[in-house]
Symmetry: D2
Subunit: 270 residues, 4 copies
């Protein structure tokens, strides 16, 4: 019964990529490739991010082998880099290794919180765009930095909702909304999602897609959570387009029959 | 692409009713029956609430005619009643008119906020249960009142998220979670939903279903919002079962590659 | 420097009582009477609630002795009662024992969450008001119940912010604001306060006073927290009267010098 | 009664300045100098920020004249600058004009939201610190940027709560807490405060002081709001030191008399 077969979200173009799914999956935190495969299938994703070291093993049964089998696009990321120099080096290696000029740029400013270093990120983005990369730039939720990244030519700007792996959800939806209004390239929520309502909220705030890893890979049932996230992303996308009712403190009746019912008129006898 | 055809939520039993959809639609606020019909279809709902006055017209083109055509169950409600006496009277009329002993009990304590009057609601519930009704009891989010309603024999307890028609979402998710833990009968979130993430959050808090009216009927595009809500309810239900990651203030890396990447080991040449 | 000597809040009348302090202290959770004495002094309170059993010992060094010495009024409460009958009995005993017709009515509906039972509370309130008590009624944050309690003749209505001892703060400030608008008797926030900003928020939402126990008695430094709460209550009261700026998503400049500075005009030389 | 005369917050050292008040006032938005003077007095502040253009008039009845009369320190700010170059120029002019090497550095990245441009801010901070300025750096709530500003030698780092003039309060208290843990220099909340509880919350999150302008200057009663903010800042500071109780979803009783009262033992006769 509960199928949603006629949901037809318009395709999302990010650089040279066209996606019909608005959910991007990270592989960090995964401990079992079989479970990952099920989660990928359940999520409906067409794009999966992988840290470079993970994909160096390309043999049968490897992560890369699995992803190729599922037919998803692989987006190498520069996870673990702390400087622009490191990130640029790693991106170049990824390009060689995978024959793709797409890269998720991630430069961490603090090993404890894993928050991005926006100065190094901007530096690296500038270099990578110059070198012809399609840069998906992970950043914090600062609208001014987001606009700078877009102005540099990143194909997607990816603000966090809250710190990587925290599951704290969308700390500042207002910032996401401002980012969406000010940028022309796709905005992808990246990091912080804990559960389905977080993903829906990100889309309602105007994000074009959601990237998440731990929320699925570390859930008790990753494939079930992957499906939940898929539904949530669609729900949030649809809700934004459907034009929600305003919030108002005092109620407006949800029936037109407010006031005492006219029992007499309904039945003839009260 | 974005189908979710294999979402198979377990059926929900409320009294003598078995639902496979967890979304219940109210008709309050609707201005166009054609749009309502599309919204009902898009929502996947199997149960629609109707205020008694609305359904007295049973001719072709009436609301009732439409609902019969779509095949959904009709749940008459006592919207507009301010006392137990009125609500009981109206419920009896509804039973006669519709041949159903199901009733959504709604006794309003304040015409301005439309908040329920729990004392009158408890009184009416006791009478109606005694008279053999299956009572779906609209109430506030107080766990003690919810438990009393369940103890009286209501087949579903329906706490609000926030005032009817306010679109303020789930003001107090903790109360919903407490209610869910303490009751054995289904808990249905009723009132306050504004957008999809609200519906997902209600399900994540433990509700078994969501009832909403204005959020769909007064949205700019009711059928699109109906579909959004359907996806959101499924998303929230799945997410709760999937076992979300804990919230933690400080990040846990979403990749195992945290720390500086060992560029050399990945490629042989840095 | 940091004195606030000219804060002159208008006196608050609750029944036959006139208070110049808007902070009421509970004694639950206290483990050391000396610390309590310091906390009472630091809080500036003029009214302290005590559970009946605690005050039966009236000898030197007892809680009651201490409170008499500090000159505060004692407000006996019916903590621990689960029915109207019990609460009424206990209130009568308190009247005999203390020669006061003031009573904080507290009827708990669930030993686990300590949430109030509004049906029993309403029953007990009716009886006690009839017997000439000045009833300070602890209740949940439901506006309709609050209005019923006021209509019964309670001298103060005391909604919770969140469950007793939870430290969760003000779960639903909107409800408090509605209660304040609809009642003429004083509204006292009771239960849930965790820290100073919670107390300020309760006052900003319109409460006339704040009652708290655990937040002070179980803080690491109860006298320091008592003083913090005193400042917070004054801050919140003042802020409400001072007329806060509206919330707006987009900024309005806080200086009139927005736009590029005209360096030349300021100095003669750019 | 409601004096708080023995609140003795420890002095706060920011660069060469020692403050006993933790509240810093901005003058943006003020329309009446008499009201400003009352607000300054009511706030207890010892430091007031002024945009350069405003202070060029030093004659009798000018803003500067007023501030000198009240005895507060003046902190010139670079409000309105959009680049590091402009901000550095303006800071130099301020140094000449006021004979102070203190400057509040503010470089705006977007005239609409007035959010800071962290890249330009970092650039300007580096130059100004090199030139011997004591830089109070306005920034967003990103912990990594805050740490960079501290590492550059700023004497205070001043993260926003929400956009200037928005009155939205503290959007992300977690970020403030992380900033406080990672920095050794004072952290001053700057921008976004709407009402007293916001200021208290900022201090509870670990800020050493609060700077605000519109919340006071644009309140209906600026002096009353100034006093409210003073109390709130003290309340928040004290509450943090007092060691708040943990938040817990389920209640812990605030009296030791939980459970049915033993009426018999209290009175001899039930």
């Amino acid at each position: 019964m509960s199928d949603a077969t006629d949901v037809l979200l318009p395709p999302l173009r990010i650089g040279s990529l066209t996606l019909t799914s608005r959910l991007i999956l990270g592989t960090g935190g995964i401990t079992n490739l079989e479970v990952l495969e099920q989660a990928v299938a359940a999520s409906g994703t067409e794009l999966v991010t992988v840290a470079l070291r993970r994909v160096t093993d390309r043999g049968p049964g490897s992560l890369l082998d699995l992803l190729e089998r599922t037919g998803v696009e692989v987006l190498p990321n520069t996870a673990g880099c702390a400087t622009a120099t490191e990130a640029v080096q790693l991106a170049r290696l990824a390009r060689e290794a995978f024959g793709t000029r797409r890269v998720k740029l991630e430069v961490i400013g603090d090993e404890h919180t894993l928050l991005p270093d926006v100065v190094e990120t901007l530096d690296a983005a500038e270099t990578l765009v110059d070198e012809g990369f399609e840069v998906f730039a992970y950043t914090n939720d600062d609208p001014v930095t987001a606009l700078r990244l877009a102005d540099l030519g990143c194909v997607a700007v990816m603000p966090l909702g809250s710190p990587i792996g925290s599951g704290m959800g969308i700390a500042n939806p207002t910032n996401l909304a401002i980012i969406r209004e000010q940028l022309e390239v796709p905005v992808v929520l990246d990091a912080g999602i804990g559960t389905a309502s977080d993903a829906a909220l990100a889309m309602e705030a105007g994000c074009d897609a959601v990237l998440l890893a731990s929320a699925v890979t570390r859930a008790q049932d990753p494939p079930a959570m992957a499906r939940a996230m898929r539904c949530a992303v669609e729900a949030g996308w649809l809700a934004r387009r459907a034009g929600r009712i305003p919030r108002r403190r005092f109620a407006v009746a949800s029936t037109t029959d407010v006031g005492r019912p006219q029992l007499g008129s309904a039945s003839g006898t009260p």
